[in-house]
Symmetry: C2
Subunit: 400 residues, 2 copies
């Protein structure tokens, strides 16, 4: 089947998470992603993992997660010949993307203005931590730091406990989606106007955009929403909304009629709390009382009883449980690709279903420089030129 972005080519200077996830999303839709890497080490994420574990003994799971559907060209950005090569390629590409610290690409000679000169239709997207100017511009913009800075850590967890960061890199990943949002909007507009443009995305803005609901409340009323001191699930929510212990683990109960819940639990005494003001003000006390009841149930029995009463609830699963979740299996979300070194790599498949242009995994994450010579040939470089660049150590051909 056709792919939505099959005629789009992206020259991808990005590394680590924000940029690579963005180009993977574009690649899933069929865009050709040319990942520019350092000869030798390549993307820094290739050398990062958790607990020093490597898929197939050598490959970073973090890198494998964000770099499918890409080709890799290994080239020394600092060599003058690299500029010649990359700007010749740039004449025919649609998008340039990068997430070095602000100013680095300009200093290397790869800023927006340089690309615009060779191709005014280019869409140039930069990702940073805090934007490209201002008091924090030189600070490192890392995911957890932004969670702390934007109020997310302070809004998570319990009132008497510490602030809590999310156990996943959501700032980077939301920044990535803003890159995609900006780039696809710009591609659509280019169809009308013939013009490229520059796009700037940053983690600070991304995380605040995603907390607009909380921020609108706090900014307009001039006070913070205080974290609950129980497992109520959000600083602004009243009981019962939260996570509850059962005999064999935990369950979640979202906004649901309190009366109905108390009825299922068989605890009519708790109806004394049933008014909107009390359900907020005494939410921690109510949570304790409800938890006393839920602890009497097994997970399976309680969920069955709650779902039968159309009370919004669900299981609390670990990542290992998630793999075998029947709905996750039904949706085909657990899939895999064959990697030349790591073998069969299990990954989460594309999240968006499209009737005419379904996204798909067409390539595994590349080896550093795996497509260097193929890409150079595609863009019209001669065998002599390729051999000369290789002999001088400016490019590297990776062996799969």
């Amino acid at each position: 089947m056709p792919k939505a972005l099959e005629d789009v080519t992206v020259l991808d200077f990005s590394h680590l998470l924000q940029g690579p996830f963005a180009t993977q999303l574009l690649g899933d839709m069929g865009a050709r992603i040319i990942k520019v890497e350092r000869p030798g080490q390549g993307d820094l994420f290739r050398t990062m993992t958790f607990k020093n574990r490597w898929v197939g003994g050598t490959e970073s799971p973090n890198f494998l997660a964000w770099n499918r559907n890409k080709q890799s060209i290994a080239i020394d950005l600092k060599a003058p010949e690299a500029k010649e090569v990359l700007f010749k390629i740039a004449e025919k590409v649609d998008v340039v993307i990068q997430n070095f610290r602000p100013g680095v690409m300009e200093r290397l000679g790869y800023g927006y203005e340089a690309f615009k000169k060779v191709n005014p239709r280019i869409i140039y997207c930069s990702g940073s931590g805090y934007g490209e100017s201002g008091p924090y511009v030189t600070r490192p913009g890392q995911d957890m730091l932004l969670q702390g800075l934007t109020g997310l850590a302070a809004a998570t967890g319990r009132r008497d406990g510490p602030p809590v960061p999310v156990g996943a890199g959501f700032a980077d990943q939301i920044g990535a989606m803003n890159m995609v949002y900006g780039i696809l909007s710009a591609l659509y507009w280019r169809e009308r106007s013939g013009k490229g443009q520059e796009i700037k995305v940053d983690l600070l803005s991304a995380l605040l955009q995603h907390q607009n609901q909380e921020m609108v409340w706090v900014m307009n009323f001039g006070e913070n929403l205080e974290r609950p001191n129980s497992s109520i699930g959000h600083p602004g929510m009243d009981a019962p909304f939260g996570l509850y212990p059962v005999k064999d683990g935990w369950v979640s109960i979202a906004m649901s009629p309190y009366r109905k819940l108390v009825d299922v639990l068989g605890a009519p005494d708790l109806l004394v709390y049933d008014d909107p003001e009390t359900l907020y003000v005494k939410r921690d006390e109510i949570w304790e009382k409800l938890a006393e009841e839920t602890r009497k149930w097994t997970k399976a029995d309680l969920l069955e009883a709650l779902l039968a009463a159309d009370i919004w609830c669900g299981e609390i699963k670990t990542h290992l449980d998630v793999m075998d979740d029947p709905q996750v299996r039904h949706m085909g979300l657990v899939t895999s690709y064959e990697h030349p070194r790591a073998g069969t790599v299990k990954v989460i498949g594309p999240a968006v279903k499209m009737s005419e242009t379904p996204p798909e995994i067409a390539r595994p994450a590349p080896i550093v420089g795996q497509h260097t010579e193929e890409i150079l040939r595609d863009f019209g470089f001669s065998e002599e030129m390729i051999a000369s660049l290789r002999e001088r150590g400016i490019i590297e051909q990776g062996e799969a």
Copy 2:
């Protein structure tokens, strides 16, 4: 300045969060968003807030957060005349979007096939909790439930503590961004092919997509990453990565050379832990030792010393602090719009900067049915027809 999506029209049947945030993102880029609401109550989110507080005494901050840049038409979807009206409008729109529970729109007569008949170029995007078929299809798909189901809650917090949901509606908001990603890809492809298509997005897939890094590790090694039992900031990370107490609050310290950190803290005894294996295995013990040191500092002094040594760190702020953060101010992220009832509403502005087509806030969130008659006139309905629909209670004109 021009807007990237200024020639795109969206007929928006969505409510609550996932759909409305998606259409707000499209509206920020200049798309015309026609929000279809029930006469009277409108979008259910209009009646929801935190702590029973309303901006200007009447308006939901949650609704105000996700519905700028839209026009509202109030029309009774169940009236046969509504079908006539909406399908006539649909002849000229580009996108239809909805996030009712699976099957509801089909039962009402507003499924994809019906729209495709009147306009084969239409892009029809549905958002659900768990997809549109499978064992969970009838379950309510609410944000926190999905956080629990996909392993996010179990990966957040401390080993000996409860699983912790994030203090913001990230599942919905990531689902919204997947809608935007699918719709913009489909719009771009329609330029090539002339064809519309159907897009399906769901919260389950969205949250797993954003945990691909953790899932790749867990699925390929067949074990879970265990939560730390301290304020180390991620189940897979070693010390020092985490949040640390200081005299007057907390700071964050991301991946940083351990030796340099210990040097800044003036605690050479702690160098005994400095090898990669130990930094993971003893991370909770190391966190305790580091925290003993950081507690001796004020926030300002410690951050200054850490930043001078280029150690990745940051402040932990509450939402109220965020408003006055100098970088947030510099980026112009705190902005406002004038609402006919609520007055000046403070909101977070668009997160993406674009040189040629900057996103902007051109309209406040609408009153229910505020643009009913204007929209009907724009799409060629006669004054007689409008009066007749109004008299029969099929449409409602809201007064700002």
